[in-house]
């Protein structure tokens, strides 16, 4: 798309899980690209390999073959810790917030890791929380005290706080009701279009997928088609 930057290039990657008892090839020869300012949805049935693909994009492991280029740099050769800290944010279906940190502290955490001023980090965290629709009452609560939708909004706020160009979301609406689902999808879209992030959502929810700019269908570890 015009004006958008090709940030991720996937070159024929495969990934095999190896456990003591079996070997499973979860990803089979996938090639594609991802640009900033676009919201992508990866859809497919359970076990199709979409979450594994997302994890590989997040740099949580390396493909067994092929390579992933991040701004033309091979992920295998870059510092993946730094990549995860500065360039990519992840939102999970299960939220994965720190249960013993308050909502604000959860959002502040990535900024503090990036050595931002604590006071500024707090201000920004509160702003982000407000922007995702959480009220001030929620700021000092622990995640366990919030509803699923609120927790997911907090998780998105934390993802936004890191200011990475890539936002990955694994079934972000999986545990949410329809109302919250709409809010989260809208937020994702805003991040893609207004803040020029590459938003990649793994979902099996077709309603969510329909809201995306690009849909990637996966089956048995393969990428079947890409719908613009």
């Amino acid at each position: 798309m015009e004006g958008n930057l090709e940030i991720i290039k996937v070159e024929n990657i495969s990934y095999t899980y190896r456990s003591k008892y079996q070997t499973t090839q979860a990803i089979k020869n996938i090639a594609c690209t991802f640009e900033t300012g676009v919201m992508y949805s990866i859809i497919g049935k359970s076990g199709s390999g979409k979450s594994t693909f997302l994890s590989l994009l997040a740099g949580m492991d390396l493909p067994s073959s092929g390579r992933i280029l991040i701004e033309n740099s091979d992920m295998a050769k870059i510092d993946r810790d730094k990549y995860r800290m500065h360039q990519v944010s992840i939102v999970y279906q299960a939220f994965h917030l720190f249960p013993l940190l308050t909502v604000t502290e959860n959002v502040m955490f990535p900024m503090e890791l990036q050595k931002k001023n604590r006071k500024l980090a707090r201000q920004k965290a509160e702003a982000l929380l407000l922007s995702v629709g959480l009220s001030e009452k929620a700021f000092q609560k622990y995640p366990g005290m919030l509803s699923g939708g609120e927790q997911q909004r907090c998780a998105i706020a934390r993802a936004m706080a890191s200011e990475g160009q890539i936002l990955l979301a694994d079934e972000p609406t999986g545990n949410l009701d329809t109302e919250n689902e709409k809010i989260i999808v809208a937020l994702m879209k805003r991040l893609a279009h207004e803040e020029k992030k590459a938003v990649i959502i793994v979902t099996h929810n077709e309603k969510v997928a329909c809201k995306s700019d690009v849909i990637l269908k996966m089956q048995d570890g393969r990428l079947l088609e890409v719908e613009p």
Partner: protein
């Protein structure tokens, strides 16, 4: 980044107050248990070491007689034979017979001899000896022709040795132990060595005439060779008294009397020198009846090398103005391998000999070794005055046995006796020693052990040690279980937290810090409190136990040191307690942290993806 990670780690620990508090309390409890156990164990080890150093197990050896010989001795008063019993040995065990495998001596067995040193230049306690009042070597004539088978009157013509005041007086005389003594004539002169040892008896005795009689003693000799075999006397059929005829003193018999008279003078300026291989083997030193008041003991090295150093009695040093470093000259002229010096030389100057100081040739023994001994220590004796079997002799000098190169002119010899034969074995090894002795089938040796109650004390300490080990083991078990539980709760169960942190790009090392900081602080706090409380408690228990032990040591038959010496050293106690506290707290923290690091490392080996998959 570290700051925020540490802060968040602590924050998260503090936000689970109940879990943290329970863990803290349990760590405090197990730390206290471990420290009490370790403290008591250390104290028992220290006590045992102190006791090992203070207590000494000595064994004395006495060869039992293989039979008793019954000698028929005539008693002139009873006009009958009396029975005198003498032990007989079919075989005399050499000391080497005690060198069997498994004996494990600390100090090998020795059979001590003492050596008579003639040193007229010294003032001795025997200078005040009054044996002249008792012994008498004199020429005499009976008032009537008679057979001295009962008390008869004799006139002392000339005193050659002994009480000079008796010259010209009349005394009662009886050859008490001869059934058929030779007749003596009033116009003849006789010589005899006499001792007044019986009350007068016989027809001459009236109510007005009562007193002691003098009994003649034959001047037989008892010299032994190096193997303990008796050397035959150069004179046979020795009589208790002889007629003094012209040129009598030219005869062997006459010369023997002259030599004997010489030996009496020699005897008075003689002090005993005891050769040993350790001072502690001498029972008075072991019992604490003798102790060094100035200088030091003869060192092990000096004993081994046989250096010419000595311990002298305080009296001897004072009488002769001797001090540490001064030299005492010795001229050894006979050896006694039967008696302890204290049996023959009393601390009050008394002397008693059951042998004549004459060699088999009837001559006064010649000096066989002259030396100069440097005084390294002066000892005092707490008690004992006269002659005793287990005591110190008057003016007894103690030297390394190895310093005496020759053992000559042996005038007394016997099998091993309890007061002259001893050894040292490690404390607590009496049973194993006796077991090994039994295996070697050495019969007729009576071994008496002295350990001053060590066995009883050790049994008490062992109980304390087992109890402390049990406490320690239970504490360690609880502690390890706790740490494992803690690892499970705070690390394994927080795999998700590690996964999130890794997903957020926190490096593994910092994830480790994040996981362990809070735990480490709680662990350190818990161990400090627990180990501190444990150290204080163990200190109290040991102090109370020690006081109890002081009272209990009354069954120890002697003091080995001054009472002050038995009190625990407060500073040393403090250091011991501190060391136990440091060791326990550091060990627990080390183990806890180690277990945490191990667990976290194993989790961090997995990629974040696998960790999250595991969470699902």
């Amino acid at each position: 980044m570290n700051k925020i990670i540490i802060r968040n780690s602590i924050r998260q620990i503090l936000r689970t107050p109940l879990k943290t508090a329970i863990f803290l309390m349990l760590i405090v409890f197990s730390g206290a248990l471990v420290t009490v156990g370790a403290g008591l164990w250390t104290r028992s080890q220290v006590n045992l070491k102190e006791y090992e150093e203070s207590f000494i197990t000595i064994g004395t050896v006495e060869q039992k007689a293989s039979s008793i010989r019954q000698d028929m001795v005539w008693d002139a008063e009873k006009k009958n034979f009396i029975i005198r019993q003498e032990p007989e040995y079919s075989y005399i065990y050499p000391v080497s017979s005690l060198h069997f495998q498994g004996a494990g001596y600390t100090i090998p067995p020795e059979k001590r001899s003492y050596y008579a040193s003639y040193t007229p230049e010294y003032q001795l306690v025997s200078d005040h000896n009054t044996f002249e009042q008792i012994v008498l070597v004199a020429e005499f004539s009976p008032l009537e022709d008679c057979i001295p088978n009962e008390s008869v009157n004799i006139r002392i013509n000339k005193v050659l040795g002994g009480n000079k005041n008796l010259e010209g007086t009349m005394v009662w005389f009886c050859s008490h132990n001869e059934q058929f003594p030779q007749q003596i004539y009033k116009d003849k002169t006789y010589i005899a060595y006499m001792v007044s040892s019986h009350w007068m008896h016989g027809e001459m005795v009236t109510d007005e005439k009562r007193g002691l009689e003098y009994n003649p003693i034959a001047l037989t000799t008892s010299q032994y060779d190096q193997n303990g075999a008796l050397i035959e006397d150069s004179l046979q059929n020795i009589s208790a008294y002889y007629e003094v005829v012209p040129s009598f003193y030219e005869t062997k018999e006459g010369k023997r009397y002259l030599n004997f008279i010489g030996s009496l003078a020699l005897q008075k300026k003689t002090f005993p020198v005891t050769g040993t291989c350790r001072t502690i083997l001498l029972m008075p030193f072991y019992n604490g009846d003798a102790y060094i008041t100035d200088g030091r003991d003869i060192s092990d090295g000096e004993y081994e090398k046989g250096e010419t150093v000595c311990l002298v009695s305080e009296t001897f040093a004072q009488n002769n103005n001797l001090a540490i470093g001064d030299t005492v000259n010795t001229r050894l002229y006979y050896t006694n391998s039967r008696n302890a010096a204290s049996e023959n030389f009393g601390t009050d100057g008394s002397q008693a000999f059951n042998f004549n100081i004459l060699n088999a040739g009837g001559e006064t023994p010649k000096v066989f070794e002259e030396s100069g001994y440097r005084i390294v220590g002066i000892y005092s004796t707490a008690k004992g005055a006269g002659l005793s079997r287990y005591g110190m002799a008057g003016d007894e000098m103690i030297v390394p046995a190895n310093s005496i190169k020759r053992k000559d002119n042996i005038l007394a010899y016997s099998a091993m006796q309890g007061n002259t034969s001893s050894f040292q074995i490690p404390n607590g090894s009496v049973e194993s020693f006796m077991e090994e002795l039994g295996k070697n089938k050495i019969a007729n040796l009576e071994i008496q052990f002295y350990d001053k109650g060590y066995s009883s004390l050790k049994s008490g300490i062992d109980k304390m040690r087992y109890m402390s080990l049990l406490l320690c083991a239970v504490g360690i078990l609880i502690c390890v279980s706790l740490l494992a539980l803690y690892n499970y709760l705070f690390i394994s169960k927080q795999q998700k937290r590690i996964a999130i942190e890794r997903c957020m790009g926190i490096p593994k090392r910092k994830c480790m810090i994040s996981m362990l900081t809070g735990m480490f602080l709680v662990l350190v706090l818990g161990t400090l409190l627990g180990c501190g409380a444990g150290a204080i408690l163990s200190n109290r228990i040991t102090k109370e136990d020690f006081n109890h032990t002081i009272y209990d040591t009354t069954y120890s038959n002697t003091n080995i040191s001054t009472p002050e010496g038995n009190h625990p050293d407060t500073e040393s106690d403090f250091h011991t307690t501190l060391m136990v506290f440091i060791s326990c707290s550091v060990s627990m923290t080390f183990w806890g942290t180690g277990m945490g690091i191990y667990k976290t490392s194993s989790i961090l080996k997995s990629e974040p993806m696998d960790l999250l998959a595991g969470e699902k």
